[in-house]
């Protein structure tokens, strides 16, 4: 088995407050080179915080992240900047993450200049090549973000991430602001680029159907913790955690004859400042076996089926709902 490209060990991120907000509360994940890990969760689950913390866009509270064996949290400013060449991010809202006063060409030139990746004479050719790679005409180099559609802006965001030739990209809800027909274009582009450039993705999303089309592995987060993790086919065909089951059943199916039973959870997602005791999901859990143990003892993420790669954090993961 190949060594993971990214190894997240017991990552914790608490925001100060009374009480502190436990955004990420002990997350461990690995991603193998060339693979896509889908990180799924609803608002407040901590999925975006995981993405930002491993790039050190936010400083962690505790834990360790190894990228190609290098301890990301131990790096000083210089080595960190060098590391950012290898790890990039694509944001959800390409409008607020592009500088409105910079042309697309300048946005793409900037990282090339900072990392001295191209001599001035080759700059224009590099920008043209990047635009071409994400399916945009070279004429886009002269345009400003407000002149572009949402899909075009997201292509620019992807081109900017690619400009420094990274090995790993955090895709933070990259298609959730896009219309369905354009969303499909961008998802296909990400898949093509991954093949061509041997990229590794952490794909953060709230939409389980989108994740199904891109991910090799899926991890489901709830209130700062991983509640289930498995190879993608297993998560979708045999979910073990009651939250994953409810989440899957709640996705509206574009089929009026669908007979799938919808598990409607009661109540709201609790605040990460006041996570419930024991299993964080217990107040909303529909599992018939739910008992006092769920209220007091936090379930560990453990192997729950024949497959050692399928983990779930539920005391009753083996029991049918």
């Amino acid at each position: 088995m190949t060594a993971p490209l990214l190894d997240i060990q017991n990552l914790v991120k608490h925001y100060p407050g009374r009480p502190p907000v436990r955004a990420v509360d002990g997350v461990s994940l690995t991603i193998a080179p060339g693979q896509t890990l889908g990180l799924v969760g609803e608002s407040g689950s901590g999925k975006s915080t995981v993405g930002r913390t491993i790039l050190r866009l936010q400083e962690p509270t505790a834990g360790r992240v190894l990228f190609e064996g290098e301890d990301v949290f131990a790096l000083g400013t210089g080595p960190l900047r060098a590391l950012r060449r290898r790890m990039q991010i694509v944001f959800q809202d390409p409008y607020s993450s592009l500088n409105p006063r910079m042309t697309v060409g300048r946005t793409l030139r900037e990282p090339l200049e900072i990392h001295r990746l191209a001599p001035p004479a080759q700059m224009e050719a590099r920008v043209t090549a990047l635009l071409d790679e994400v399916g945009l005409d070279p004429a886009f180099a002269g345009r400003y973000p407000h002149e572009l559609s949402g899909g075009q802006r997201q292509r620019v965001g992807i081109a900017r991430a690619l400009s420094v030739e990274p090995r790993f990209i955090v895709c933070d809800e990259p298609v959730s602001a896009l219309d369905v027909s354009v969303q499909a274009q961008v998802l296909n582009l990400l898949a093509d680029l991954q093949q061509k450039r041997r990229l590794t993705y952490l794909f953060i999303a709230h939409d389980l159907a989108v994740v199904r089309h891109i991910a090799d592995q899926v991890a489901v987060m709830y209130l700062g913790r991983i509640v289930e993790r498995a190879p993608a086919p297993a998560i979708y065909s045999a979910p073990r955690h009651p939250y994953t089951r409810a989440l899957l059943s709640a996705v509206p199916e574009p089929n009026p004859r669908a007979t799938r039973e919808r598990i409607v959870l009661t109540g709201d997602i609790p605040s990460p400042a006041h996570p419930p005791s024991g299993c964080p999901f217990h107040p909303r859990c529909p599992h018939p076996k739910k008992n006092d143990r769920c209220r007091t003892e936090t379930p560990a993420l453990r192997v729950t089926s024949d497959s050692p790669a399928h983990l779930a954090a539920c005391h009753f993961a083996e029991e049918p709902i």
């Binding site: 609803e42 608002s43 559609s149 949402g150 899909g151 075009q152 219309d179 369905v180 027909s181 354009v182 969303q183 499909a184 274009q185 998802l187 296909n188 898949a191 709230h206 939409d207 389980l208 159907a209 989108v210 199904r212 089309h213 891109i214 991910a215 090799d216 993608a232 086919p233 979708y236 409810a246 989440l247 899957l248 059943s249 709640a250 996705v251 509206p252 199916e253 574009p254 089929n255 009026p256 004859r257 669908a258 919808r262 409607v264 959870l265 009661t266 109540g267 709201d268 997602i269």
Partner: protein
């Protein structure tokens, strides 16, 4: 045959663009009927005109820059809403036709309690006393399943979660027991488990109160689960209309087909999606002929020149020449 509750005919809502350089024909000749007790889904992507259509029904279009063109008709129980004097319109708006918006935080007033906001319509339209209106507000909050309604009635919007705010919006809309509820992307801003709750709530309330629902959404999954009939919009026009099962069983318009193929499915393995090439054109410059022709895999010369009307028989129609000339359909349209 029952009479429609709401009849929309040849609705045209145009906007003068900021620089005065042109006219955006946001809604450009839309017609449909809404029958008592049914759910009609209007589905389409950004810029197709679905929200402008819903705002036009209640005459909530800011004028200027917008205006509803002469010749448009919006008839509610036989009265043309576009010809009503403001007091007559106010007697219908929020009373017999109510609306739920996508973003509950921006559509609730942050400085009034939710109870006051729910009670307002009951005081205005049904002349309830303040005390009776407050009791009514608590009753409505109970109906929409808000926990601790007697306490929550005195809360301000910022004290509630997104899902609770949307329940409050629904309580506000339903306080006068409207005959028509217009729900514009009512679950788009919500998490999927909360969306499931709100959709179930709308279904239950519709059954209990017997109202007709005009459900505006970009989500084919939501439409499939909720609507009896569907209107598909593209570039300011209705491009297809059909009963929900007929639409999903056999879409006639290549845009509808493309949209269905582009939706990521939870039951499909990791695979490429079928994208619709290109993007929605600008409302100031709709393409000639069929407005979908630049993105259509089947288009031929006629499509670039002549605009198709809604074709087909009975209750399933599509704005596409293929309905008349099915032989022109290409077997394997190239993707992307």
């Amino acid at each position: 045959m029952t009479e429609p509750l709401l009849r929309v005919r040849d609705l045209k809502t145009y906007f003068v663009t900021e620089q005065g350089r042109g006219t955006a024909r946001a809604v450009d000749g839309v017609s449909f009927d809404l029958y008592p007790g049914e759910t009609l889904g209007i589905v389409g992507e950004s810029g197709c005109g679905k929200t402008v259509t819903s705002l036009s029904i209640l005459r909530l279009i800011p004028e200027p820059p917008g205006h509803i063109r002469p010749g448009s008709l919006i008839e509610f129980e036989g009265r043309n809403l576009l010809a009503l004097a403001p007091p007559d319109l106010r007697a219908i708006r929020g009373n017999q036709i109510a609306m739920v918006f996508q973003e509950p935080m921006t559509s609730l007033n942050p400085v009034f309690t939710v109870g006051d906001q729910i009670a307002e319509a009951a005081i205005i339209h049904q002349r309830l006393s303040r005390k009776a209106a407050r009791a009514r507000a608590i009753e409505m909050l109970t109906l929409v399943g808000l926990p601790d309604p007697a306490e929550r009635v005195d809360h301000y919007p910022h004290q509630l979660s997104g899902g609770m705010r949307q329940r409050v919006m629904i309580a506000m809309a339903l306080v006068c027991h409207p005959k028509v509820l217009i729900a514009d992307e009512p679950t788009t801003a919500l998490d999927v488990t909360i969306q499931a709750q709100i959709l179930e709530l709308l279904e239950r309330l519709q059954a209990e109160l017997g109202m007709a629902v005009l459900l505006i959404t970009h989500d084919l999954g939501v439409v499939a689960g909720q609507a009896d009939r569907v209107v598909v919009m593209y570039a300011g026009q209705v491009v297809e209309t059909a009963p929900t099962t007929a639409l999903f069983d056999g879409p006639l318009h290549p845009y509808t087909e493309g949209l269905m193929a582009a939706v990521p499915r939870i039951d499909a393995p990791k695979s490429r999606l079928q994208a619709i090439p290109g993007q929605v054109p600008a409302a100031t410059a709709w393409p000639s002929g069929c407005r979908f022709h630049p993105r259509c895999p089947h288009a031929w010369t006629k499509c670039t020149i002549e605009e198709p009307p809604l074709l087909g028989d009975g209750d399933h129609t599509a704005r596409c020449w293929l309905v008349q000339e099915p032989g022109r359909r290409k077997r394997q349209p190239e993707t992307e």
